[in-house]
């Protein structure tokens, strides 16, 4: 490769030109295998819109609860309900505080999500469902403000969320996430050879039958219980 440096550079230029590429100005790559090409600033800006809990990635912009309510009604309420309560099986966005240790927890932005940045990021990248990336930065700030309002995390309709005050917001459930400690569970820690013979006393008793529920497809009844939602 280094034997004919000028020739290879020329070849790279010719290639770029022959492709009629808008990236003709892009520098040639200089990695170990010299594959790919250097990304332009504009390209990175177009795709790099992820937000982190520390606020890294937040764009300029601002929006109020009141603005958010209008946007929510127009773009979101058909699925998520006027108050984030969810229509049909669509996700519930508000409420559920204090239910996480109950029999049927309700995991919402207010009751479960640890970081506000995730709300901004996710709405911006993937909502509305079926028309993603259609909202501007001010719209997303306003919707995020409204979601805080629906969850009683802010109470003032005139509250304005912006890049400047964004990281001041603390989500109620932020401290309740713990690292993966599955390996320390009793059944793994035991670390003994599993029992092979006469492991349990008494005859086998059935404690639960799927047939009783009868919610398997092609089993006739497709109106199942709300348990086990995987979405």
């Amino acid at each position: 490769m280094s034997k004919f440096p000028k020739a290879s550079l020329l070849a790279a230029c010719l290639l770029a030109m022959s492709a009629g590429s808008v990236h003709a100005e892009a520098a040639s790559p200089s990695g170990p295998l010299k594959l790919g090409r250097i990304a332009t600033e504009a390209e990175i800006a177009a795709w790099d819109h992820d937000i982190r809990p520390d606020g890294k990635g937040l764009p300029e912009g601002r929006g109020t609860v009141a603005d958010g309510e209008v946007l929510f009604t127009d773009n979101c309420a058909a699925c998520h309900g006027d108050f984030g309560e969810g229509v049909g099986r669509w996700p519930v966005l508000a409420g559920g505080e204090g239910t996480l240790d109950r029999e049927r927890p309700e995991k919402t932005i207010g009751s479960y999500w640890p970081y506000l940045s995730t709300v901004y990021d996710y709405v911006n990248r993937a909502m509305p469902f079926g028309n993603a990336r259609s909202l501007g930065p001010d719209d997303v700030y306003a919707l995020t403000a409204y979601l805080l309002y629906l969850n009683d995390i802010v109470t003032d309709e005139d509250f304005e969320l912006s890049r400047e005050n964004f990281t001041d917001i603390r989500m109620p459930n932020v401290d309740n996430f713990v690292p993966d400690d599955r390996e320390r569970e009793k059944h793994y820690v035991a670390d003994t050879e599993p029992c092979m013979k006469d492991c349990k006393p008494g005859p086998v008793a059935i404690t639960m039958r799927a047939r009783v529920l009868d919610v398997t497809p092609e089993g006739g009844n497709e109106e199942g219980p709300a348990a086990g939602n995987v979405d």
């Binding site: 996710y122 993937a126 349990k200 404690t207 939602n229």
Partner: protein
Amino acid sequence: MTEKMNKPSRPQASRRAFLGGAAALGAGLAVRPALAAGDPLITEVQDWNRYLGDGVDARPYGVPSRFEADVVRRDVPWLTADSKSSVNFTPLHRLDGIITPNGLCFERHHGGIAEIAPADHRLMVHGLVERSLVFTLDDLKRFPRENRVYFLECAANSGMEWRGAQLNGCQFTHGMVHCVMYTGVRLRTLLEEAGLKTSGTWLLAEGADASAMTRSIPLDKALDDCLVAWGMNGEALRPEQGYPVRLVVPGWEGNMWVKWLRRLEVGDAPWEHREETSKYTDLLANGKARKFTWQMEVKSVITSPSPQAPIAHGRGRTVVSGLAWSGNGTIRRVDVSLDGGRNWHTARIDGPSLPKALHRFYHEFDWDGSELFLQSRAMDEKGFVQPTKDDLRAARGTNSIYHNNGIQTWYLKPDGALENVEVS
């Protein structure tokens, strides 16, 4: 219900399978009287033995025999609000070996199937790197390639069973898993091409679909065994599996295997995005939730006999077939119980034993026609033993949704039908 589920969708194609299946059981076991004149399938010339079949130009891309029309992915409409953000299930009960056919690999999308012309696809690597790079698919194919067999299991596989037996068939209880051979380039090689800065500790992977799926991956894993793949089982990825390019994250939950992969950003902290905060976090009984539960634990299931694959041959020699896998590596052993976990027999693992891939096991026995409670229990190379569902519930409660690797019980009844049950 068992009979319904076994009935292929084409009645014409189904007749023989049906007669040989569960329905015949009602008429008594092993009904195959030898006719005095002999079996007409032998004594009479059959159509296929006389007339010509299709030529080589009839099937440029072959599909399974029409008699296999019921071997298909199935979904459970009530599980999700919309089919575009939903899941379907691999028909494990009709498969064997360890490789899943491409057309049967379960699907899980969050914004439907993106249809991307390979010439239009771009993969960007940026962030804490020396050079932000853009690759085309053609560029990726100029890197050194690797071929690796791995299972991909959805974190929510068996998730509907946390509270008890709910769905009748291993397709539904365990079918969010598949195993194929991937062709691609080491993720490490791509990152080295961009030149990692020493401050980089995390990687964000993003998909090009309408959900713009993102996950944070620790850089150690990214540099270890992850692949950026364009091939599965020797051909291009299927659209529903991320065509033209997907991430392969061996042993870790399927959600992280970002499809339609378009962007890799190196950073110094996790992004805590929706799929690692709201979703793919595991709620415990005390209201706390585990996060970053990446690894898939040691697990197994008997695929046949099972509720969708009843015993049709009556008593006598019976083959128990099943799958075992672990995100820790290879499977060291699988034990099978016929009496609900009272006694165990070590099964026979057959075929390749590859790390973080499905393993096939068999246990052959003579069925005396009595009711049985079939279970399988896997042990992986690190010594982790598959727990019972009650073990898991004792440790986690019933609201974790994800990572249910508990032992499955099938109740085999004297007529050969089976049910998904839980037992004491």
